[in-house]
């Protein structure tokens, strides 16, 4: 085989490229980092059970969205009997999850799923704080 050297070099390059995602994370020290979520300071109970929220928070948010915007329903009766105002900024963000970067983004980045663009419109309370409210 005349091209033996070329073929082996090509194979090595291929191996390097194909294992790049793994090797990059190893070298940059991005793996084996435990997920740290900044949990809410005061409230211990979410509007729905934690396990449910972990799997289906978007389902709840979509229901909230359509209830509030399209059906003019303003309150949500939670599983524990409490009543919450249906407001992403007012209830979710202001009361509990005050930092998108330290809560939502942490889990989403870990899973490699882009955080939905809710905060493009729904105001992150941190923005108000920064402008000196």
């Amino acid at each position: 085989m005349r091209d033996q050297g070329l073929i082996f070099v090509g194979l090595l390059v291929f191996l390097g490229l194909i294992t790049f995602p793994v090797s990059y994370n190893l070298i940059a020290g991005k793996t084996s980092k435990p997920l740290e979520l900044q949990l809410p300071a005061v409230e211990k109970q979410c509007v729905a059970p934690i396990d449910y929220m972990k799997t289906s928070h978007m389902k709840l948010l979509f229901q909230w969205r359509d209830d509030r915007v399209r059906r003019d329903i303003r309150t949500y009766a939670a599983y524990d009997g409490k009543s919450y105002a249906i407001s992403f900024t007012g209830t979710c963000l202001t009361k509990c999850h005050t930092s998108k970067a330290d809560f939502c983004d942490r889990c989403h980045n870990y899973m490699g799923i882009q955080t939905p663009n809710c905060t493009d419109c729904h105001i992150d309370p941190k923005l108000i704080q920064r402008s000196g409210e």
């Binding site: 729905a48 969205r65 409210e133």
Partner: protein, 255 residues
Amino acid sequence: MIISRKRFLQVTGVSLLVAAGEKLMGAFSGVVPSEAPAPALTARRWAMVVDLPKCYRKEGCIKCIEACHAAHNVPKFIDHALEVKWIWKDSFENVFPSQENHYLAATFKDKPALAFCNHCDNPPCVRVCPTQATWKREDGIVMMDWHRCIGCRYCMAACPYGSRSFNWTNPRSNIAKLDPDFPTRTKGVVEKCTFCEERLGKGKLPACVEACPEKAMAFGDLDDSHSQVRELLGSRYSIRRKPELGTQPEIFYLV
């Protein structure tokens, strides 16, 4: 104890039903927000009456516009092409082209008139929206769903009054002060006055109505024969914008 997810959701669902049932029976136990919310304002047909002579008493006043745009995070663009406005002033002749009159009384000639969404009873914008991102509520408000809007701007072409604005670019950088009680919109969606439906739910009148120093704007239920709007319409002559189009606008102007 280990239970399956399905069982857990079943339990949650039943609990929710029980909780809702309790609420229905008036047994309200739980977190109450800092102040007890005022009962929501409801109506069968919301309408507004603008008293133009009262409005003219304060020349150059734009308190209604400022209040509305502040309460709803409406961006301010200097470039007329990119303008976003929910309520504005234009000349009487431009707002009421159907009242074409070379000899218009001095009371109105060259005077401004308020223009905003008419919340028509027969809205062309609702007819043409391909995704029902704008629709007419049962209480008469022509509402917007900014999650669903695809930004086709067909509603803007359909509106005979130029009431709608489009976010040609990201509005955030052009908002002086963010009001946390109302979301902003994103680029690529159409927006307009929504009769402050978020305030109505908290028992408050629209921002413009509250802000007017001359109390020139009246807001109420047309189906309630004793409402302020009905009394005003019953006692004084009123005009509407382009009534010949059959859109049945619900903004009445007293002259």
